[in-house]
């Protein structure tokens, strides 16, 4: 087998050194009734590289790839062009096949990248400090709620209706077991729920969680909410699922958010049918010891040279065990690297230009679609994603569009099944990969399926 270097001669020689007669002598601790006489029954045997490749090629062809079609899906995962150099660099074996940098003298590459990543994320979010990544946006969001509970010693979180429904579901699952109380709502097409959030804050509130832009693409000034939270001793958690937006709009930290979390998939990582993605997590300096996840910090070596190490580890499970701030161990290192490389390639100028292009494309698309009879725009404001209402349920329309070769958006019927008030809503994301032809194709296909 091509991944196994030992030869039969090696094996018998090594058994001799060990003093074992046969390989099964090394498995003596396995109870006899649990020992299998041969390979696990009911499964195929080994296959060549070519065979395996063919199998996957056949499966891959059964999927419609985003890049082969006019593509307008978002709702928490966005298609952006990723420069070829990103994928080249993350495949360097020294990055790809390294472990968590527990031996810093031979992991300075990973560690310096993490230090740069933390700084990039903190600056993008308008915060003091960021960690070395979480699993994804939804788990980062729950971790932020947990952290707010530790900081405030309160257990009631108020969640905006504009928070991605999967993020809400994750929080509900976890809260059921931790005893946290969640105040949740479904979104309204008539406007965002800032007033509801402000009204819900009381002396028991640990945090308010608001998505920016929200799941329908709407953008609110968070400053009044931040002020209300601060007055009540609660924390404001802002969730950013599209970091490219922050090349165009104010950072949540700038508006007073105490914790900013996000999904970093947009930059460098790609769609990948939902994972792996990269959770972003940033906060104020004063809360750093309540943060979950790994942190990389600067120090010096024995000769005074600058270097980097994982630090403040006493927050973490391998030291604090049952008193840890989180049980997270493995994070999303390679995706954080991809994010950081893409961000370095863009730089401030590139990020702003990219954001401007995304926004302009989205505005163009929205203007074209609302000209179709029966289609109207929900948003007063948006970045690269907006919601329209159609004259009939959007869920079937999405399938009809797909049949015409257009991947036309995410229906609110899929995100909020059973919510009649939302079923005609369609969330449409427009990034730099959308061409004039793609917009025309969506427009034409939508006209046809609505006719």
């Amino acid at each position: 087998m091509r991944y196994l270097p030992l030869t039969p001669e090696d094996r018998s020689e090594m058994l001799g050194v060990i003093g074992a007669g046969a390989i099964d002598d090394l498995f003596v601790d396995v109870p006899a009734e649990a020992r299998l006489p041969g390979p696990v029954p009911g499964l195929p045997l080994r296959a060549t590289e070519m065979t395996v490749e063919r199998h996957f090629s056949a499966l891959a062809r059964k999927n419609k790839a985003a890049s082969d079609h006019p593509f307008f899906l978002g709702a928490g995962a966005y298609k952006h062009h990723v420069p070829a150099s990103v994928d080249h660099l993350i495949q360097r074996g020294e990055f790809l096949t390294a472990y968590t940098p527990y031996q810093p003298e031979i992991a300075q590459g990973t560690l310096q990248v993490l230090f740069e990543f933390q700084t990039q994320v903190a600056r993008l979010f308008g915060c003091d400090v960021a960690n070395a990544s979480m699993y994804d946006g939804s788990t980062a969001c729950w971790e932020a709620i947990g952290m707010a509970g530790r900081v405030t010693r309160r257990k009631k979180a108020v969640l905006s209706g504009g928070l991605h429904p999967h993020y809400v579901s994750v929080a509900k699952t976890m809260a059921r077991f931790t005893g946290d109380v969640l105040d949740t709502a479904t979104p309204s097409l008539d406007g965002t729920d800032l007033e509801r959030l402000i009204g819900a804050i009381d002396a028991e509130t640990s945090c308010v969680v608001v998505q920016y832009p929200d799941v329908l693409g709407r953008i609110d000034d968070l400053s009044p909410l931040a002020a209300a939270c601060q007055a009540a001793g609660a924390l404001l958690i802002a969730v950013v699922t599209e970091p490219v937006a922050l090349g165009a709009i104010k950072a949540p930290g700038e508006m007073g958010a105490d914790i900013v979390v996000g999904e970093g998939q947009s930059l460098g990582v790609g769609l990948q049918f939902g994972g792996p993605y990269v959770g972003l997590f940033a906060t104020r300096d004063k809360y750093v010891r309540q943060m979950p996840g790994r942190l990389c910090g600067e120090t010096v070596d024995a000769t005074g040279k600058r270097g980097y190490v994982l630090t403040l580890s006493t927050r973490e499970q391998h030291i604090r065990r049952e008193k840890a701030t989180s049980n997270i161990c493995t994070n999303s290192g390679l995706c954080a690297l991809a994010f950081s490389i893409h961000m370095t390639l863009l730089g401030e100028r590139g990020l702003r230009d990219l954001a401007a292009l995304n926004h302009a494309r989205a505005v163009q698309t929205a203007d074209r679609l609302v000209a179709i009879p029966g289609v109207s725009l929900v948003n007063d404001s948006f970045f690269n994603e907006f919601t329209v209402t159609l004259p009939k349920p959007a869920r079937q329309i999405v399938h009809d569009l797909a049949a015409k070769g257009v991947l036309g958006g995410v229906s609110l019927g899929r995100l909020y099944p059973g919510e009649a008030a939302l079923e005609n809503g369609l969330v449409i994301a427009v990034t730099e990969v959308v061409t004039d032809e793609d917009i025309a194709a969506l427009e034409a296909a939508l006209k046809e399926v609505l006719a």
């Binding site: 403040l312 580890s313 006493t314 030291i319 604090r320 008193k323």
Partner: protein, 123 residues
């Protein structure tokens, strides 16, 4: 003022109903370089054996148990910027918190210096 010691390597200086708590020189030598001290908030109530304070080194986080019950009166704020005081001056400048005792009888079970020295000699 009288100094008492615990088997968990805390010391407490008691003056009337007021006590000052820290960890012993032996404890700091076992913990290594102290990097951070998580201090209790003034006004919080603690029971004997609670852990109102945590002392971090690079690779460990160690609970500091209160030798007595009472109310936290103050914490040693100097440790915020210079946690290394716990290493360099554990039994004076590196004190952790001040506590108002609610039951002076709890001191009866603690050791004096001679007993503590004999105790650590056995470890």
């Amino acid at each position: 003022m009288t100094r008492y010691f615990t088997k968990d390597h805390e010391w407490i200086d008691v003056d009337g109903t007021s006590g000052i708590v820290g960890i012993t020189d032996y404890a700091q030598s076992q913990l290594g370089d102290i990097t951070y001290v998580d201090l209790p908030a003034a006004g919080s109530a603690v029971k004997k054996g609670d852990a109102p304070c945590v002392v971090d080194s690079v690779k460990a986080a160690s609970d500091v148990y209160s030798p007595v019950s009472g109310t936290i009166a103050a914490a040693n704020d100097a440790l915020g910027d210079t946690p290394e005081l716990v290493n360099t001056d554990p039994e004076q400048g590196g004190w952790l918190f001040r506590i108002d005792l609610s039951d002076a009888a709890e001191l009866d079970g603690l050791m004096d210096k001679a007993a503590y020295d004999a105790y650590i000699a056995e470890l």
